[in-house]
């Protein structure tokens, strides 16, 4: 008998020789559904969703109970619901999951933020709330944000939408067939869409193709391998590394700018990325040119 696939057995004194807990004890036991690592992965993943605090607490308590670690629950501390939490968030996840699994197109309104941080639907130039239609392909966390990767019918590329900003999400009952399949966005036709490769080439989720990018970095490889698993690195001297990555240009611009303060990264190619960085540098130099004398950025330039 293994109820719900869980082994039941006996712990003997000899089994506890290397026990990690402070108060191990022999006797009958039932194997937990989750081990400790699984428990933490699930609980921390749930916390990442920034969902309703009460709902999260119940969910995490279940995970801890299934790992036989309910006594550790208090160590998690207090969770709070985000101030502008979208009450449709959990329903949206269920609906998006079904739409992805069954390959249904969706309709929705998409929110932006009001001045006080309240989520409000996007409007067109005439003040009418915009309604969107999309083919949903995948839900995914990236850089702490929860995205739906989809094809919005008004565009010809992939879009990355924040799940917490959906309102009035629905599946069209009469016609919910996809306009485009995911594979139609594959840069290598005839092969299945490779999510790992696609996201690995985008340190920030954004469309446009990935291109070879050549750069040099000094003293550390952490900014490289933290973000680009497939980087090709050659050490030039004690302090300098030559690096090739394949990545989306705009996403790489954002990635490089975050390390500008450290002055360790130099983009060598493509020239278009170097031009953009130079332009951004000139803009910042101009914006802050007079800070020394006035204490404020120069907004007239």
């Amino acid at each position: 008998m293994q109820p719900f696939g869980r082994k039941i057995g006996r712990i003997e004194h000899k089994d506890l020789k290397h026990a990690e807990s402070a108060d191990p004890r022999p006797g009958w036991y039932i194997e937990p559904i989750f081990d400790t690592a699984q428990m933490r992965l699930l609980a921390d993943g749930a916390i990442l969703s920034r969902s309703d605090s009460e709902y999260l607490h119940d969910l995490i308590a279940k995970v801890y109970a299934f790992a036989g670690q309910s006594s550790q629950l208090s160590a998690l501390g207090k969770m709070s619901t985000p101030r502008n939490y979208n009450r449709e968030f959990l329903n949206n996840i269920e609906l998006l999951n079904d739409a992805i699994v069954h390959e249904w197109a969706i309709t929705f309104r998409y929110c932006t933020y009001d001045v006080d941080g309240t989520l409000v639907p996007r409007k067109d130039a005439d003040g009418n709330v915009k309604k969107y239609a999309a083919d949903p392909y995948r839900l995914m966390y990236r850089n702490g944000k929860y995205y739906l990767i989809c094809h919005m019918h008004q565009h010809n590329n992939l879009s990355y939408l924040h799940v917490e900003r959906f309102r009035d999400l629905a599946v069209n009952e009469s016609n919910h067939s996809l306009m485009r399949t995911l594979d139609s966005f594959n840069p290598e036709p005839g092969t299945p869409f490779d999510w790992d490769k696609h996201m690995g080439e985008r340190p920030y989720p954004m469309d446009d193709k990935a291109i070879p990018i050549h750069l040099r970095i000094k003293d550390t490889l952490e900014p490289i391998y933290d973000w680009f698993d497939a980087a090709q690195v050659t050490q030039l001297d004690k302090h300098t590394y030559d690096v090739w990555i394949t990545a989306n240009e705009k996403a790489t611009l954002w990635w490089a700018l975050q390390y500008a303060d450290d002055r360790i990264i130099e983009i060598l190619s493509p020239p278009s990325l170097c031009d953009t960085l130079r332009g951004d540098g000139e803009y910042l130099a101009s914006l802050y040119a007079d800070v020394g004398s006035t204490g404020l950025p120069n907004h007239d330039s």
């Binding site: 008998m1 293994q2 109820p3 039941i8 057995g9 006996r10 712990i11 506890l16 026990a19 990690e20 807990s21 108060d23 191990p24 004890r25 022999p26 006797g27 009958w28 036991y29 039932i30 194997e31 937990p32 790992a67 036989g68 670690q69």
Partner: protein, 63 residues
């Protein structure tokens, strides 16, 4: 869960209660003894031991 006076409880119910006790009180480094289970159930240790084969499978039973 502390339950007492189990004189009329069926084997199936005792098996389920033992499973609940195991689920709530054990992990890979913390076991519970037949005596402790018996005290929780309000039955004799012998009763618990006679039900453990249903819970764990005969091969797992040791004294």
């Amino acid at each position: 869960m502390a339950v007492s006076h189990y004189a009329a409880v069926s084997t199936a119910e005792i098996v389920i209660i033992i499973l609940e006790l195991l689920d709530k009180n054990t992990d890979r480094e913390h076991g519970i003894t037949a005596v402790w289970i018996a005290n929780q159930l309000g039955v004799t240790e012998k009763t618990v031991r006679s039900h453990l084969p249903y819970v764990a499978g005969n091969a797992a039973i040791r004294s």
